[in-house]
């Protein structure tokens, strides 16, 4: 029976051994000190026991060298742990430049994953083995948190903001995916699995019934919502041209310079007056309520495809995901 009780999670990503090694180190250090104190307390309690309660202890008031020692040494040890842990942390939060991006939205009580090529899944995320994957996500209602224990990654999904996690799977198989921020009645039901497949199987899975690629969906929305009427490609319209803008920078009316990343594009759609590009009037209405988070993500993907010269690319062409050089990772 004992062998059937899991006591330690699987390591299924490149990050997992890093995190686990840190864990083992801290466990060893803390276990050592815990044992030390427990042994001393036990030995002293027994050795100096007075069953009568009438004797008196030796009136030792203290020792400055000891105080300094047992303040400084624990402090230095904690600093070592802090440093190591911070290094691991930056590995966790800094995705590599080239990642396979997947968008996701959490809402009560499910996770919807949107692959760029159009495939969408609910509560399941298929990814290929051995490639860095970045999931960019938000929430449509309350706080959630995307957590894959086997990969040792987690980030909160915050309504109104983008979060991301990244991982490189090192094992095929199915791994738990949990919501890790209490979100109401079915919080413990907001779970699913990450399915890691061999690259060729993943390709095969991808090319199954995909639906419209995100960028193509984005282009549709761009037309339907009327964006095309102001954001003329030559920049002479009421709004700036969007050609080649993604990944670059813009100067705002008050002189500040912002990076044109997914966060900025989303903000420009939902709260356009906040960061207005220099030289343009505050005419753009907000599209809050007219386009949902998934629509915003599709628009972002579309804008990413707009090249800096000439006509916008024929984005209706289905793009298959494994072409990272063409897509570019988002910031």
């Amino acid at each position: 029976m004992l062998s059937g009780i899991p006591l330690f999670p699987e390591q299924a990503s490149t990050l997992a051994p890093e995190v686990d090694n840190l864990y083992f180190f801290i466990t060893a250090v803390t276990a050592f000190f815990a044992l030390l104190v427990v042994v001393f307390v036990t030995v002293f309690a027994i050795k100096y026991r007075d069953r009568t309660g009438t004797k008196v202890g030796e009136p030792i008031h203290g020792s400055i060298p000891l105080e300094i020692g047992w303040s400084l040494i624990p402090f230095l040890i904690t600093m070592v742990i802090f440093a190591w842990a911070t290094v691991v942390f930056f590995q966790i939060v800094r995705a590599p430049d080239q990642t396979l991006e997947v968008y996701s939205t959490g809402k009560r009580w499910m996770w919807r994953f949107q692959h760029i090529d159009g495939k969408s899944e609910i509560n399941e995320l298929h990814v290929p083995l051995g490639r860095p994957v970045k999931v960019v996500f938000t929430s449509e209602d309350v706080l959630h948190s995307l957590y894959v224990p086997a990969f040792r990654v987690k980030a909160d999904a915050i309504p109104g903001r983008y979060s991301s996690i990244w991982f490189t799977p090192t094992k095929t198989g199915e791994f738990h995916l949990f919501c890790a921020e209490y979100c109401g009645t079915n919080h413990s039901g907001m779970i699913g699995k990450v399915v890691v497949m061999e690259p060729n199987e993943y390709q095969a899975w991808l090319s199954g019934d995909t639906g419209l690629p995100m960028a193509a969906r984005g282009e549709q929305l761009f037309q339907q919502l009327g964006c095309v009427s102001c954001h003329l490609p030559d920049g002479a319209g009421r709004g700036p041209s969007l050609l080649g803008k993604f990944g670059g920078q813009e100067t705002l009316g008050d002189g500040t310079v912002v990076a044109v990343d997914d966060v900025y594009v989303r903000e420009s759609i939902l709260a356009p007056q906040q960061k207005l590009v220099a030289g343009y009037q505050p005419l753009m209405p907000t599209f809050q309520g007219q386009v949902n988070e998934e629509g915003v993500m599709s628009l972002i993907e579309y804008i990413k495809t707009l090249p800096s010269t000439g006509q916008p690319a024929a984005a209706a062409q289905a793009r298959t995901a494994p072409a990272p050089a063409a897509q570019g990772g988002s910031r």
Partner: protein, 537 residues
């Protein structure tokens, strides 16, 4: 064998009417009145915990519905945090013992002390009303936007209850701070004060500076929920994470309100039952202050995965490690106090031994969570649940019971059965570890908190945890039984059954209403056991 009799006139029997209790200004009576309400809250919180643990025996949700489960764990947290852990040691033991310890007749503001009890009760009544109306299901942390826009439960009533009760804590802290500054007996300099007084002083700092912030935060939550104000609403450009910052700005220092007084108790009990001064007195005293102040600088370690900048996270991680050092210093000083002591294994001391082991584990596991790279994996899992229960139950509650057993004879004039008490302490210790140690493993495995149903492979560890919880329940019930029994059938304890130093032991048990016949004059330090003339062990 000489017999001890109860003194004829004491604070308990000097007047008998209900009015003499409800309108009392005597800090000792107020301490007992707090004991009644806090014990009721503890029982209530325990019932909710039982509900949670019974449900978690099986992976499916077969005991209660998801909504009910969510209310159970929320109400468990609310009852235990605001109505047990925050007030227990300061408002019960502190109220009773502080004036006695410093040779004063009462606290600085006895009427405000009584007011604080009424405020506490009114807050509790509001919270009970919320429970009667179906309870609240937001988690005791009330994160927005769930609590402001989505929860269909008694958020407002609970919020009002917490708001009101917060003032009880503020008034207690204010009272204690002024008392310690202005009411010490002649000759009691700061460095002659018992360490429990230092602990209460440090706690007062936190109560005074921190509690108003939770009050205004709950107020903002209420305005948002009731009137749609928009401060935390992302649709208006508000920031739901702002709520987390404001909430934890109090709630992290709050855990130091919960642990500093029990640490003070440990210092008192360990000195008494080792018959020697606490090793490194001034270091222990200053570490209390350091914890109180540094405790205000670490709140965002609850937000490491909530979208704060990694650089900000680094700062808070560093400070979270730093705040662990004074606690380590205390632990080492207590251990050194045992060295060459004359250790008398009485019930209060058994609780101290338990505290030392459990607080150690709790504190050290905090280091895991302060570690950024590890916290990403561990945040919002059972690892966190295990960590804070080790500190709050294994640390704070055990410290509280140590103090309760230590000062019980002074409070009641009666002594309880030492063997029953020792048995209960051991039972609680074993039950506690069985309940919460498996949760560390569950956490690292990835089981999230606040889950009504869970993955099957987590079941065995959950069953162990539930088994431990039932032992805890038996243990706590046993304690209540023999303590109550001692009031009616216990033998008279005498002024100083433990042979302890300290002004509180130089009055009768129970004390007269004014505590002392004459104001004592203090000529020495807090733990001068050798001056008593007995030979050194």
């Amino acid at each position: 064998m000489t017999t001890t009799v109860l003194p004829r006139v004491n604070y308990l029997n000097v007047r008998h009417t209900l009015a003499s209790w409800l309108f009392t200004k005597d800090h000792k009576r107020i301490g007992l009145m707090y004991l009644v309400v806090v014990t009721a809250a503890f029982a209530l919180g325990g019932v909710f915990a039982a509900g949670v643990r019974i449900e978690l025996t099986t992976p499916e949700g077969d005991f209660v519905s998801a909504d009910t489960y969510n209310r159970l764990f929320t109400m468990h947290g609310v009852a235990m945090v605001f109505f047990v852990l925050i007030p227990a040691v300061p408002a019960i033991l502190g109220n009773f013992v502080l004036p006695l310890m410093i040779g004063a007749k009462d606290v600085a503001f006895p009427k405000i002390n009584l007011l604080s009890w009424y405020v506490f009760v009114i807050g509790f009544v509001f919270t009970l009303a919320a429970m009667a109306f179906g309870g609240v299901d937001t988690g005791w942390t009330f994160y927005t936007p769930y609590s402001t826009q989505f929860s269909n439960s008694s958020v407002m009533l609970t919020g009002i209850g917490i708001f009101i009760t917060g003032f009880s804590s503020i008034l207690t802290g204010l009272n204690f701070m002024v008392t310690i500054h202005r009411m010490r007996a002649p000759g009691m300099t700061w460095f002659r004060m018992p360490l429990f007084v230092w602990a209460l002083y440090a706690t007062s700092i936190v109560q005074i500076l921190g509690t108003p912030v939770i009050a205004i935060t709950v107020g903002m939550l209420a305005l948002e929920r009731a009137l749609g104000f928009g401060i935390f609403d992302p649709r208006l450009g508000g920031d739901p994470v702002l709520f987390q910052h404001l909430f934890w700005f109090y709630s992290h220092p709050a855990v130091y309100i919960m642990i500093l007084p029990p640490m003070g108790v440990i210092s008192e009990v360990i000195a008494c039952f080792s018959r020697k001064p606490v090793f490194g007195y001034s270091f222990v005293a200053f570490s209390s202050l350091a914890i109180a102040i540094f405790g205000f600088l670490v709140w965002a370690h609850h937000l490491f995965v909530a979208g704060i900048s990694p650089y900000s996270a680094m700062v808070f991680s560093f400070l979270s490690f730093a705040v662990a050092v004074p606690s380590a210093v205390k632990t080492f000083n207590w251990t050194a106090t045992l060295y060459k002591g004359a250790i008398w294994w009485q019930a209060p001391m058994i609780w101290v031994f338990g505290f030392l082991g459990l607080f150690l584990v709790g504190g050290l596991t905090g280091l895991f969570l302060a570690s950024l790279g590890l916290d990403v994996h561990l945040h919002d899992t059972y690892f966190v649940v295990a960590h804070f229960h080790y500190i709050m139950v294994g640390g704070a509650i055990m410290g509280y019971f140590s103090g309760l057993h230590y000062w019980w004879p002074k409070m009641t004039g009666k002594m309880y059965s030492n063997s029953a008490a020792t048995f209960a302490a051991v039972l609680v210790f074993v039950g506690f570890n069985l309940t919460f140690f498996p949760q560390f493993i569950l956490g690292y495995l990835g089981m999230p908190r606040r889950y009504h149903v869970y993955a099957e492979e987590f079941q065995v560890l959950n069953v162990m945890s539930t088994a431990g919880a039932s032992l805890l329940g038996v243990g706590y019930t046993l304690i209540a039984s023999y303590l109550i029994h001692s009031v009616f059938r216990g033998r008279a304890a005498g002024d100083n059954p433990w042979g302890a130093t300290g002004l509180e032991w130089e009055t009768q048990s129970p004390p007269i209403p004014e505590n002392f016949d004459e104001t004592p004059i203090v000529t020495g330090g807090a733990y001068e056991y050798t001056k008593r003339g007995a030979k050194v062990a």
